[in-house]
């Protein structure tokens, strides 16, 4: 994998344009429920955290999948799905710690972020630079670990509210 989708939640204003951009480009619908990126918000503390598939090396969604449709693409390193085999049981959604699997009710399958073939729409739309698409070398800095820490903390300790 040469490039990563990096999220800096400190810059997120919660506008939801990433969700809309994802939904409209993937499904032609204006409905953030269909997006593969979701903003978690801690409304009474004034912060927002976009959550999407982290493209884990050893993804728990793949282990959880009953139909064995989730795998790692050997070339791109992305977590990919064979959608025709999906029975929409949502085991992957339960297994993912990052809210990385979304239910697409139009196709009746579970989906995850595919980096839009190397040109993520959400990154283009983000008005503040909270979302960036950068090389592995760039992303392997402290900033990334700090962000992961913040998000794990949010997922575990704070009861966030997903819009």
């Amino acid at each position: 994998m040469n490039k990563h989708l990096i999220i800096d939640s400190a810059k997120c204003t919660g506008c939801g344009l990433c969700e809309l951009a994802c939904a409209i480009n993937k499904t032609g619908q204006c409905q953030t429920y269909l997006a593969r990126i979701k903003i978690w918000q801690e409304e009474t503390r004034g912060f927002f955290v976009p959550m999407t598939c982290q493209q884990c090396d050893n993804p728990p969604c793949a282990s959880a999948c009953l139909m064995n449709v989730i795998s790692k693409d050997p070339v791109t390193g992305l977590t990919i799905r064979r959608l025709e085999g999906c029975i929409a049981c949502r085991a992957c959604q339960l297994a993912c710690p990052f809210e990385g699997c979304s239910y697409d009710y139009l196709q009746e399958v579970l989906v995850n972020c595919d980096h839009c073939e190397g040109n993520p729409e959400c990154v283009k739309y983000c008005p503040t630079g909270a979302l960036r698409y950068i090389s592995t070398a760039e992303s392997m800095d402290l900033e990334r670990s700090a962000e992961a820490g913040r998000r794990c903390g949010l997922a575990g300790l704070v009861k966030g509210d997903r819009r």
Binding site: C15, G16, L20, Q31, Y33, G46, F47, P127
Partner: protein, 642 residues
């Protein structure tokens, strides 16, 4: 399973209006007709038509006959930048005229995704209830356990019960029928002006919880994406964009202070002597961090505020919006930190901050004048005495002691005191916003007089207002333009009208003509659900909105027709106001503005009247009475209301 598919056949619009009668818990669904969409667009347009069609004349605003309408802007839920706004309207208990207010965040998006472009609430529930609307279905639920709770406590409960939902609700002020109670939009936003919270309270309706997963189908996805990017680039290249992105609406606080055009101590001073140091930008920025956006907004003008030390340590909320900050800070002479506390109380109790600050400023002035005293209030009142002001606010929300009188609003409360009228700063019953027209006379300030909802500053603003200049050599007729040809060209306005409104040779803007345009433009924004922040108002106009509207809904409309739809709604609301008893002489500022100077300036009544007449003329209304003329009504396809 929820949200299996989008049931609606219409594009862009959700396609349905939901009508609930709380008296018999009956609900009805109405399909949207294409002509209705084209003629009234959405948002305030829908609200105006529905209210004018269905509300009998002369009803009492706090009676079950009043109709409360939530109209979602057409573009809401789309990628169009800043499309998030929902308009709420009813007959106002404060003014007796058309009451209406606009708010953003995510409520409208959810209502549309739940399947509805508008929600119409009629009747009155027997006991406290709340509505839960989800994916085309509505239930009326018991709210006895929520009644009496402040809005934040209520939200904690409802948000836990309905994860991911958006909530519109009232606080204790709305329950107690305080005439300027607002409808809260989540924790930190509100449909604040004109007392719509009291209307909700009078219907025994505590909250409206909305959640939707149905989705909105654009007519032409590619075209919508294209026009959204075009609009975004336009907004981002406006010179107003960067300042608003970094400092939000507080940008206006200092210039208006230096013009001596603020509501200092109930419009008595123009600007407080220590304003510049107490409300200086570095001081404000010290308390704020992070920016918060509404749905699809690229500006994110709102701030997150945390007070780390002092008396109000630990307070944290979304604030430092210019309206509450200046209303309390300048109007009641409070400290910067205290305005945050006041805003918190305003949110919890659910009161319009402009109105509550206005009525309290009047009470303090009456106290200073010796018209009311310690015995009447129960404690001493003084400008800048934070604790007394908070106590008074609490009394108003709960209608205790003098609070019961003040809860009736400035106009009604002033009648209770001999000589009270001289301190009552309102237009048509709605408390004046924080700008003093004596300090700066402009399109914005004439708009306070011509506003269809009374003394308010949000329905008319010159899209290219220049805050560097404040010249009063134009005899109330004009304001200085002060920009170059490039700014002139960037304004999306029909060429002929633009040439009439802006004279580049003399570098002036004609206030009457620009007011009419600005009002229609803002009414258009409130119909399609776009924000009125200066970078948007400067660059977004009917041309691009017509493109966006057609791409999203598939309904063909020209820029001229689009402006006409906005103008139609404005005229319709004016007809409603006339039917409800608005008189020509009501369009007048408080006496003080014509009799006392501030910073050496005051208004000339005859000249202001003259500009007002020019405005009526520009609108095609009768020059003396301000009634929409037959010709204008015919042009818009309207007829007089009976």
């Amino acid at each position: 399973m929820k949200g299996e598919k989008n049931m609606s056949k219409s594009k862009g619009y959700a396609g349905q209006i939901l009508e609930v009668n709380l008296s018999n818990q009956d609900s009805r669904y109405k399909e949207l007709a294409t002509e209705f969409c084209r003629d009234y667009l959405g948002g305030i347009g829908f609200n105006a038509r529905i209210i004018c069609d269905e509300m009998p004349a002369g009803i009492e605003a706090l009676s079950p006959e009043n109709i409360l309408v939530f109209g979602v802007g057409t573009m809401v839920g789309s990628t169009f930048p800043t499309a998030s706004r929902t308009e709420v309207s009813a007959k106002s208990p404060l003014t007796g005229l058309f009451g209406t207010s606009n708010s953003g965040m995510f409520f409208g998006t959810q209502l549309k995704n739940a399947g509805f472009d508008a929600l119409v609430i009629k009747g009155k529930a027997e006991k406290p209830v709340y509505l839960f609307i989800e994916d085309g279905e509505i239930s009326v639920c018991d709210a006895t356990r929520l009644w009496g709770k402040d809005s934040w406590d209520t939200l904690d409960i409802l948000k836990k019960q309905y994860p991911g939902a958006e909530v519109a609700l009232i606080g204790p002020a709305g329950e107690n029928l305080v005439r300027f109670a607002c409808i809260e939009n989540g924790y930190y936003d509100a449909w604040a002006r004109t007392g719509l919270g009291a209307v909700m309270g009078s219907k025994n309706l505590k909250a409206i919880v909305v959640r939707g997963t149905q989705g909105i189908t654009p007519h032409n996805v590619e075209e919508l994406i294209k026009v959204s990017w075009k609009a975004r680039k336009l907004i981002e290249t406006s010179p107003f964009f960067k300042p608003f992105q970094s400092y939000g609406s507080m940008n206006a606080a200092m210039p208006y202070g230096s013009f001596k055009a603020l509501n200092a101590n109930n419009f008595s001073q123009g600007c407080l002597s220590d304003w510049k140091e107490n409300f200086a930008r570095p001081k404000v920025e010290e308390l704020t961090h992070g920016h918060i956006a509404c749905q699809s907004c690229i500006i994110a003008c709102a701030h997150w505020v945390e007070i780390k030390e002092g008396k109000y340590q630990g307070l944290r909320m979304k604030d430092m919006e210019v309206t509450p900050t200046v209303s309390f800070g300048s109007g009641c002479g409070m400290s910067l930190e205290a305005t945050v506390k006041a805003a918190e109380m305003g949110q919890r109790y659910g009161m319009d901050m402009v109105s509550v600050a206005g009525v309290m400023a009047m009470a303090i002035e009456l106290f200073d004048r010796g018209i009311i005293n310690q015995e009447d209030v129960g404690y001493d009142l003084a400008f800048g005495d934070d604790d007394a002001i908070f106590r008074l606010m609490d009394d108003i929300a709960h209608r205790q002691g003098l609070g019961a009188v003040l809860a009736e609003g400035t106009m009604r409360a002033a009648e209770q005191f001999a000589g009270g009228e001289a301190s009552a700063m309102h237009v048509k019953g709605l408390e004046m916003p924080m700008i003093d027209p004596r300090g700066r006379w402009s399109t914005w300030t004439l708009g306070i007089l011509t506003n269809i909802r009374g003394g308010d500053h949000l329905r008319c603003r010159n899209p290219i207002e220049n805050l560097r200049f404040n010249e009063n050599k134009y005899d109330f007729q004009k304001e200085r333009f002060g920009y170059d040809q490039k700014m002139y060209d960037a304004l999306d306005m029909p060429d002929e009208l633009k040439a009439q409104a802006i004279d580049l040779e003399t570098d002036t803007v004609d206030i009457a003509i620009m007011s009419r345009w600005a009002e229609d433009l803002i009414n258009l924004f409130n119909s399609v659900g776009v924000c009125i922040r200066p970078p948007v108002e400067h660059r977004i106009g009917p041309t691009i909105l017509a493109e966006a509207y057609t791409a999203f809904t598939g309904i063909k409309i020209s820029p001229i027709e689009l402006m006409q739809s906005a103008e139609r709604a404005w005229n319709l609301i004016k007809l409603f106001n006339l039917r409800e008893g608005e008189q020509p002489e009501d369009s007048k500022f408080p006496h003080r503005f014509y009799e006392q100077t501030v910073g050496g300036k005051m208004l000339d009544e005859a000249k202001v009247q003259e500009v007002l007449q020019q405005y009526y003329q520009a609108r095609g209304w009768d020059m003396l009475t301000g009634k929409p003329g037959e010709e204008k009504l015919q042009e818009l396809g309207l007829c007089n209301l009976t």
